[in-house]
């Protein structure tokens, strides 16, 4: 399964704006894969949204999910 990930804010400086990762079953394994690929992410605060809902805890991912990586909001 491929997961398409959209990226916002200062995370774009680290990761670019789009990212595709293979074999990701849930958000915990997503985080682990990201941190292996981008060690600088380990010390960066960010939130994960799946289908526009903020993730609390671990969530199983399926093929149609939209996953967003979001640093602290700074609108207004």
């Amino acid at each position: 399964m491929q997961i398409k990930i959209i990226i916002f804010g200062q995370l774009c400086d680290l990761l670019g704006e789009n990212l595709v990762l293979d074999n990701i079953a849930d958000t915990d394994s997503l985080t682990a894969a990201l941190h292996r690929k981008y060690p600088e992410l380990v010390n960066t605060k960010y939130m994960i949204a799946v289908n526009k809902k903020l993730v609390v805890g671990n969530i199983i991912l399926s093929n149609n999910n939209t996953v967003a990586l979001m640093p602290a909001f700074s609108g207004g």
Binding site: A49, K52, F73, S74, G76
Partner: protein
């Protein structure tokens, strides 16, 4: 008042002062209104380590922001006796001195309009997935942090 569909709060570029004037004008037929409260966010030319902010470039996770704003809107309408609520947030590059946020609440009584307006501003800043990139004169940038 129940709103079925999330409204689009985003505008490309700055919010024009004339647009704000026109928005105010439209309310003169709503004669149950006694008070309007307006908040405007304006881009500040902050100086950070001797570099001056010339603009903020706003990006957002637009669909998620609109859904979240829809929730906020319904909660604010349930909490306060409001006649109207209008929200506009800029996207793209907004120069220092230009307006990037326009929150406009109206109510029969001033307290509801004032309290709702300031609560909406706080919630927009903390709950909507929007990011500001502060652009300096030398084309470097830093990411805005909300306090």
């Amino acid at each position: 008042m129940i709103l079925k569909k999330p409204k689009n709060i985003f505008v490309r570029g700055p919010v024009a002062a004339s647009f704000i004037g026109a928005s105010i004008q439209k309310h003169n037929t709503k004669t149950e209104i006694g008070g309007h409260s307006i908040f405007l966010g304006q881009v500040r030319a902050d100086v950070i380590e001797e570099k001056k902010v010339v603009a903020i470039e706003y990006t957002a996770y637009e669909e998620m922001a609109m859904e979240q704003m829809h929730v906020i809107r319904e909660e604010i309408f349930a909490k306060y006796q409001l006649s109207c609520m209008h929200i506009y947030h800029s996207l793209g590059k907004i120069a220092a001195g230009e307006i990037c946020l326009f929150v406009f609440t109206s109510s029969p009584h001033r307290k509801a309009a004032i309290d709702a307006c300031s609560e909406i501003v706080e919630r927009i800043k903390t709950e909507l997935p929007i990011w500001g990139k502060e652009l300096f004169t030398d084309e470097s940038h830093q990411w805005k942090v909300n306090k």
